[in-house]
Symmetry: D2
């Protein structure tokens, strides 16, 4: 496993310098682009790393996975009345489809869907903005995980489009709490800082039929685990989901902070980090590393 | 395997009567709805059947898979300049996205995409309308397979929306041949009549890393095979692709004739047939049978 | 003129009972539907009335006209960089077009456009929410005009869609002030209560090449007056603008409170009030009365 | 009147060289751009001209006006079941709205609407493609008017988008005849060649309450005449209709051949010709000349 990681790292390293760091908020724009790390957590709980695998980074949209799983633990099938499970076919932050489809987001990984899930968690938890943080601490066994408040505040200041999205759902009666309150929790979750090793551990239950070695508990049933992976496979990579399935063939979720988690069900979870993004908003080296991975293991879920 | 099939059949049979036969052309509207059959072809080439598994039916959109694979055999990566590999998020016959995206269809399984693929095959073959027929004969080892000319002619007569689609692509210079000629070939392919057993055999190479036991030849490389399955998983079931992945978790392709093929990669291909459709246009009992299948085998690709 | 009014009133009165009062906020839903009044103000400043012409009602979207004229008095041609002058072709509160067109609303009479104009006035006036009120007091010579605070507060409470619209424009950098502040001013303007007589007087400058008899001042230049009338003619009646032009043929603006103002340029302004709305959201008797008007005077602008 | 024309001509002439000749078909691309003519036909039947007012040019979309009037003469109010009277808000040849609105075009001046009108005339006339030609010959008193077959054939060859539009309407059951047949008639009408003088005479009934001095007959009732002018005012200038109303304030219709007709109701009709188009597809000098006109006469319909 370590030599697999080393091979991928060597193969992809020369691409360092490609892509462009996210700059929609100042706090993210100043991240050093020349970082690259990978971590694997296998189903026995062993962690293998290479490069900048212990550097904490802003997990951004990867938080949507933990956000969803947390809500699945507290809501039954009813969750799916408020959000769909179909690919959207449109940019992650588009309002067009949301208006045509009466405020029901296509899936939990576009912004609208993640905001609905946040609204559900907001209704459920005493300290809503800490609920996801505490959950990922438990899943990755790292009690030091925290959000970067400067990033969270900067995102709130640039909240206009997400606020528009939330208010549009409110207009369709698909939003219960105050928009500003939910946005605070949502941005706090996006601003969580985790390393590749943290995320590989934290997501490992998705490769392990729902059982977290690290947390020593069943997080989701095997069936629910397949469902989350199915959603990730069809909608986890923004508008690149189809070509990511075509090229890599693993369930995965990316964030504009430069992280991507992916699952090889039954075997291991993997997290790659490199801040420079391709034109679809996914980590350039991250996609390349996962492409290299499935080439080396000669296996994809398909 | 036979007892698996029998269990599924028993479990789903009581649903017979649900759904509604496709009626957009008269020739399909008069199909007897109370039919139900399943066939499995494992990677050793054994075929197991239950119910109406030997009744030929109109394969309709399932032909899009063979159409694509045939084109992949003749065109290189260049094929993907003319058609994408992303889910569309819109009804299979919508023109909206096609106009916004300058005549490049989202994927080969929406009508626009299949028409582009047909246009490519039209440019390549001496007898374009027979090319797909001969290909499926070879793949399923059944030289008797033919199209139902009444169905093909009826579809041509009701060609207006497909003609609009093809002309719109022509307006964007993404269509080479005469629209009417390609439509004739396209409808001929849709009107091919095959049984569950034919289709399970015909699609088995997709579960077998590209190797057809029946045809005794490598049809696609293992990598290409994964790619076709990835496309099927993200876009094979019309607007139900996401919930089919969520619920069933196998690459599959449905047709309005009531057939669905699905693949359990590395193990077997399966074809279910029952003409009554659910509100998304997929065979009601077909979806139920495949849901039952993954429940019984406790396995999905995710 | 009085007999013209009487004839129209008699002709249309039997329709009383048709249509449905706006019910999107509780405060409007309880308005008595069986009210009907008309007032004309000719270019000599004479006012003719019939029926409930002195009953104050919620002017709602009619305020968009005064809002725009006020902004035209303070901003030059630059106003048109932030809002267009084309019909929208979509419902008055749709976000779809706004997203496709980068946050520049099609015209000042859809909600998005009126919100941008409110944002401009917000930047300009010391007491922004009173600016339009004071302007209409002056134009109609009635210092008693005020907003109904219950209506304004109720609209603010149900602000979700307008908030979404404003935030979406903010995301495109076409909104300067705090969304909530501008919404307060905007709803205050919508909640102004005026009678047919007030409105006929208040809008008379639009029929009089920009000169207000009542205010004894030139409000707009003759050219600007034609421009406002042109905008009203192409976009003043929600999605019924085209058929209103086709059928009535006068520049006009309606509000969901049941009022419609219309101009016969060079001769007189008219205001009709009846709270029950047709399915396009315009006063049912109002549209009928104006249709009757152009039939009787055998004249339309076309 | 002659001095008015001369003044406009002098004022606008220096702009010659601006804009770009239509090039979507080869036959139009080679038109000499440096042409400029104006003709006015007053309600007494006097014709005044300046510049290239007697040069025949391809009337293109101006034919949609005659096409509509001809159909209004043969169909009653039922015509409006198959086409609307609202501005579209989208490019003249877009299919998006047509799909959302079930094949009913927004108005008779977008391509979809003109094709439906052509379909109606096709069902009615023995020699459909000659019906409009004979009508304009009568209206303008010029029996020499003919279509340029090379232009008509070239448009048919590049018919893809119009064919897509017609087939889409056929799919919604809003098209009766064979698509190819109607397209032949439609393109024949577009390829009619008329001079400014021909068109000013031909359209004069629209400025004269429906009475044609030249044809010595009532073409439309005064009410119908206002209706056609209302449609032209809201939808006659492609996506520039709103700003044309804002800036010029007359009912008008443009064609990509470089002609624009406009009406000063009660006084005269005018036709301007100059082949180079602005970025909205309307004659650059044509729009400028009409802007100059309403400035000089200090009058617009608003």
């Amino acid at each position: 496993m370590q030599s697999l990681l080393d091979n991928i790292y060597q193969e992809v390293f020369p691409m360092l310098g490609q892509g462009k760091v996210a700059d929609y908020i100042p706090a993210l724009a100043c991240v050093e682009p020349r970082q690259f790390g990978i971590a694997i957590c296998d189903n026995e709980g062993n962690v293998f790393t290479v490069g900048d695998a212990d550097v904490p980074f802003s997990i951004q949209s990867i938080s949507k996975v933990f956000n969803l799983v947390l809500a699945m633990n507290h809501y039954g099938e009813g969750l799916w009345d408020r959000v769909g499970c179909e690919p959207s076919g449109l940019p992650f932050n588009s309002l067009v489809q949301l208006e045509y489809e009466n405020g029901i987001p296509r899936n939990p990984f576009i912004n609208a869907g993640a905001l609905v899930i946040s609204d559900m968690n907001q209704s459920r938890f005493a300290s809503p903005h800490l609920a996801v943080r505490d959950f990922v601490r438990r899943l990755s066994g790292n009690p030091e995980i925290n959000a970067d408040r400067i990033v969270a505040d900067s995102e709130f200041e640039h909240r206009a489009r997400n606020a528009a999205t939330a208010y549009l759902m409110k207009a369709f009666n698909n939003f219960e709490n105050e928009v500003e309150d939910v946005l605070h929790s949502y941005f706090y979750n996006c601003a969580l800082e985790m390393s590749c090793a943290d995320l590989a551990r934290g997501a490992s239950f998705l490769a392990n039929r729902g059982y977290s070695q690290c947390g020593e508990e069943q997080i989701l049933s095997p069936k629910q685990t397949s469902q989350v992976n199915a959603l990730l496979a069809t909608s986890g990579m923004y508008n690149e989901a189809g070509s990511f399935a075509f090229q890599v063939g693993l369930p995965g979720k990316s964030g504009v902070g430069g992280g991507i988690i992916a699952m090889v069900p039954g075997r291991f979870s993997i997290c790659v980090f490199s801040p420079a993004l391709n034109h679809m908003g996914n980590s350039a080296l991250g996609v390349a590393a996962l492409t290299s991975l499935t080439k080396h293991i000669k296996w994809s879920v398909y």
